[in-house]
């Protein structure tokens, strides 16, 4: 583990701890490798290490009984600080319905997640949600959302065939008629480099003016998370992110990349296939997981 490695870095032959410029450098290298193996983006890892260097050369480490431990603490605390900040809940509309749009790459977990959110908002926040099946492209995507909606007792608005932008716009009207106060838009997975489909998302945003635009990201994503997130952020006013499949052994370093590149907070994580497998994001747990 990284703690073992750092303890070794700062230990001399006599078994006592010793700090030198050299082993601080070595410690930084070990942390860098740990971050990269956790899928933190290369540039983000570099910036992060540069950010802790000053503190690492400071009093706390130099005078510490166990410098390796102190070093880890600095790294861990800094990670928590970058990942966390204030816990942000959903930006509920002060008046009228709240529109929440989910977007992301193919297979990230959007459809499953949008149903989990609907269930949570209904049961914990006493909201009256409407799910909107705006993926008209993937085979049986509408059916998938309808089944999930049934399982949690939330209505699903869908149109067979048709244009996702129109469907979302129409959903606002349907919500008004049904008295739904929370409209959740499930969009089709898409590549950030697919101009036409990114434009489609921009149009959905323009027509429905969501209070929340949540980027759904798979915890196992690697280095390309930065390009992906940057492009989504460039084209859409993202307000948050959700990291999925955190029940796997993926370290989830993309969480740091996401935060650094988009500036948006991770609001939730999902931890399984069942519809109650949705949790609030905990920066300290994530930091520990990334560091391994």
């Amino acid at each position: 583990s990284i703690s073992d490695k750092l303890t070794t870095v700062f230990r001399t032959i006599a078994g006592k701890a010793k700090i030198t410029e050299d082993n601080i450098q070595e410690a930084m290298r070990e942390v860098r490798v740990a971050l990269l193996e956790a899928d933190v983006n290369l540039q983000v890892a570099r910036d992060f290490i540069a950010g802790v260097k000053e503190e690492a050369l400071g009093e706390k480490v130099l005078n510490a009984v166990n410098p390796g431990e102190q070093f880890i603490k600095i790294v861990h605390d800094r990670l928590v600080e970058l990942l966390g900040g204030e816990r942000e809940e959903i930006k509920w509309a002060a008046q009228g319905p709240t529109v929440i749009m989910l977007c992301g790459l193919q297979g990230a977990g959007k459809t499953t997640t949008v149903a989990k959110l609907a269930s949570r908002f209904k049961n914990q926040n006493r909201r009256k949600p409407l799910l909107v099946a705006a993926d008209v492209q993937r085979p049986a995507a509408i059916e998938q959302l309808k089944i999930l909606g049934q399982q949690i007792g939330v209505p699903v608005y869908a149109e067979l065939g048709g244009d996702p932008v129109q469907i979302c716009a129409q959903a606002l009207e349907v919500a008004r008629m049904q008295g739904a106060d929370t409209i959740l838009l499930d969009t089709a997975g898409r590549l950030h480099v697919d101009d036409a489909l990114m434009f489609e998302l921009e149009n959905i945003v323009a027509r429905t003016k969501p209070q929340e635009i949540l980027f759904v990201c798979d915890a196992m994503i690697g280095q390309s998370a930065v390009d992906t997130a940057a492009e989504f952020r460039k084209r859409l006013p993202l307000t948050g992110a959700i990291m999925t499949k955190m029940d796997s052994d993926a370290r989830g370093g993309s969480a740091l990349s996401l935060r650094e590149v988009t500036g948006v907070p991770l609001k939730f994580v999902t931890v399984g296939e069942k519809l109650d497998a949705l949790e609030e994001f905990h920066p300290d747990r994530m930091a520990g997981r990334i560091l391994g």
């Binding site: 860098r32 490798v33 990269l36 193996e37 956790a38 899928d39 290369l42 790459l105 193919q106 297979g107 990230a108 977990g109 492209q137 993937r138 085979p139 049986a140 995507a141 059916e143 998938q144 089944i147 999930l148 399982q151 590549l191 950030h192 480099v193 798979d218 915890a219 196992m220 994503i221 690697g222 280095q223 390309s224 998370a225 390009d227 992906t228 499949k245 029940d247 796997s248 052994d249 993926a250 370290r251 370093g253 993309s254 296939e273």
Partner: protein, 279 residues
Amino acid sequence: LLIRRKIDEALLDELEEALIAADVGPRLALDISEQIRQKYRNKEIEHAEEILDFLKNMLAEGLAAETEMSLGRNPDGPTVILLIGVNGTGKTTTTAKLARFLTDQGHGVLLAAADTFRAAAGEQLDIWASRVGVDIVRHKDGADPAAVVFDACDAALARKLDYVLVDTAGRIHTKSNLMQQLEKIHRVAGKKIAGAPHEVLLVLDATTGQNALSQAKLFTEGVGVTGLVLTKLDGTAKGGIVIAINREIRLPIKFVGLGEKETDFAPFDPHEFTDALFA
């Protein structure tokens, strides 16, 4: 001489970074750049300009070596192919693509909808079956996946078909009960048709980072993997993690997924792959 040496140090750093950016992983990226540095010192590489080509070739050969690129084949009856992998990697879509690939070659193909768990999984594969024009065996939601496979093998034997493609549910590789379920599917297939499954394809998402190593290891330990399919290569991710996997387990990459249509599918080409890695 000094200037020439300076150029390639910077170049070696650049190559190491490109490898990391491609998800090869930090330790292997360093290893590889060290290897290249050695070859350059030993004059196996003459000029700095040759370094990139040398590296591409070295990586491509590594991926091609011991690679049985063709699909496993049953000489005495239907060939059974299992498609397995973590949630959302593209198994169902790949099953459809593989069906199209095989029917284009004139083979008779049957699909087995062995994901009886996820919402609309059967419907999704059903739609693909009609699009591609192949038969499909489906049971009710919640049915035993192994029973679906059993029936599908029966049907393929009866209809004298060449391939049974088994689409399984996505599963996290660290969940032992789900790995056991997969192992049961494997066993049942083997009881029904000798030697089945003749191919077990692990479907990997090209955007996956270092976790793909854990996936490859645990799926191989759990049920045995005979080949990889690397999907979503039409995105910006390079899928370099397969180079890291290749160092640890010999898993031939058989196909790549290049989009969401049934024709967005091709046999793996190591040289094309390594070219794209540094593009």
